[in-house]
């Protein structure tokens, strides 16, 4: 079964999602990876306003390839998430409700997801050509100087992900390995 959700995420939507659920997202995703996270967290530390309102939003950890003429975006799969672990709890504290990436998160991030009621989704890493088909529009919101690491506002339709960490503390990666490990 596939669960259809749209952004911004409400408390009810987040509460409904369980680790292992297949989800299709429609609406807006904000892109940010290493360098953009560093800047966002620095802004919060200085008490300044962020370039976008992250309350209820989803951040997608991606640095796409440049769009060919006439296309909204190039290849656009997820990057590895643990590199954003040191920044993620503060963003959740400020209202971020979802993250899309690949790979497992630290205990601190998982604790923050339970505490601040946020979910972590995985998209298929290395499937950038396929995932790009769900991206209908892309515009740079901030940090154009960072090139592929700029913050983009993506409009997506039926963007396919799997819930890895829900607000109840369950982790799909741990469950999966437990089930299929031999010896």
């Amino acid at each position: 079964m596939v669960i259809e959700i749209s952004t911004p995420l409400t408390e009810e939507t987040v509460a409904r999602l369980k680790a292992g659920d297949n989800v299709r997202i429609s609406g807006v995703l904000y892109t940010a990876r290493d360098a953009a996270h560093k800047r966002l967290v620095a802004l919060i530390a200085e008490g300044k306003e962020l370039p976008m309102d992250i309350r209820g939003q989803i951040i997608y950890y991606v640095g796409p390839t440049p769009a060919r003429p006439g296309m909204p975006i190039g290849s656009a799969g997820p990057t590895t998430s643990y590199r954003m672990d040191s920044y993620a709890p503060l963003l959740m504290e400020h209202g971020l409700k979802g993250m899309i990436g690949k790979g497992s998160r630290s205990q601190a991030v998982r604790d923050a997801m339970v505490r601040f009621k946020a979910v972590y989704f995985a998209a298929i890493g290395g499937a950038g050509a396929l995932l790009a088909k769900c991206v209908k529009a892309s515009e740079i919101v901030a940090y154009e100087d960072l090139g592929p690491e700029a913050i983009r506002k993506l409009t997506v339709e039926g963007f396919t992900v799997v819930v890895v960490n829900d607000i109840y503390g369950t982790d799909l990666y741990e469950e999966g390995v437990r089930r299929y490990r031999i010896g």
Binding site: R68, S75, A122, T160, R178
Partner: protein, 286 residues
């Protein structure tokens, strides 16, 4: 032929070949890898993992047919040259010619520019994906073999090296390699290809592991004892249960490729370098 029996090759031919290979390698997943992914899909026990493998294969088909990069991480351009010792490269600086090919390929091919100049302080994107990581071997003959292997950061970050003692033996090597893949977990985009270097020195063993990734998936080391170790390691790794994308399943790795070299009587270096399921590389002879 130039004078003294040397074959002349103009460096602009190198630039053109590097440019073409950068674009082609990123869009065309090697056929041997595709075959291995299809076999993995058939053999997979987990329904979730089968669906993941199906989508990966669909992605690689789209990339090939539409000429888009299979992955958004089009990597650092690793460029390997085997230059015949009877070749005379003319027309300019070889390294500059290679970097010009990378610049043209990444700019005109709509590939992502993923390099920063200073690794620690400034971290400014160089804007054209240069410089390439260039390795040149001199070999007999009058040919130049050129390989471009774009290397993504996600899998590269999961690499490891260990200066084992000779006493550690085969079991020590196995334990290190399997633990490395286990620790990497879902991060390097499994199913992965595991490149293993054994022997040499601290610097050489890492290069051996990287060069092992250039071998086609499904090929084996020419030495039967190392070929047997490759198969045993693959079986061990695929018991870990990590599976495609780490969601649980059988296909954690598609292949284990080992390259080895002589080493000091006191040493037994081991290095692990991983490729994701895209693992791009392409070669040409000039």
């Amino acid at each position: 032929m130039g004078c003294n029996g040397l074959r002349e090759i103009h460096v602009s031919d190198v630039t053109a070949a590097v440019k073409r290979l950068c674009i082609s390698a990123n869009c065309n997943v090697p056929r041997e890898t595709i075959s291995a992914l299809k076999r993995a899909e058939k053999a997979e026990e987990s329904p979730v993992a089968r669906e993941v493998l199906k989508q990966i294969l669909e992605n690689h088909r789209i990339a090939r047919e539409e000429g888009v990069p299979a992955c958004q991480d089009t990597g650092v351009a690793m460029v390997f040259l085997e230059v015949g010792q009877d070749v005379h490269l003319v027309g300019g600086d070889l390294y500059a010619a290679i970097n010009e090919g990378v610049r043209q390929g990444y700019t005109e091919g709509y590939l992502r520019k993923s390099l920063v100049d200073d690794p620690l302080f400034k971290r400014m994107n160089t804007g054209d994906n240069t410089p390439a990581m260039i390795y040149v071997d001199v070999v007999p003959g009058t040919n130049v073999k050129l390989t471009v292997a774009p290397k993504g950061g996600g899998a590269e970050n999961m690499s490891g090296i260990a200066m084992l003692t000779p006493a550690a033996g085969v079991e020590g090597v196995k334990r290190f390699v399997v633990e490395r893949v286990q620790k990497a977990g879902s991060n390097p985009c499994p199913p992965v290809v595991v490149g293993v270097g054994i022997g040499g020195t601290f610097d050489r063993v890492a290069l051996l592991a990287k060069k092992a990734l250039l071998r086609p998936v499904g090929s084996h080391n020419a030495d039967p004892t190392y070929a047997k170790l490759e198969k045993e390691l693959l079986a061990e790794i695929n018991k870990l249960g990590i599976g495609p994308q780490g969601f649980g399943g059988r296909a954690t790795a598609l292949a284990v490729n080992i390259e080895y070299a002589p080493c000091h009587i006191a040493s037994m270096p081991v290095a692990v370098n991983l490729n994701c399921h895209v693992g791009p590389h392409e070669s040409v002879e000039l």
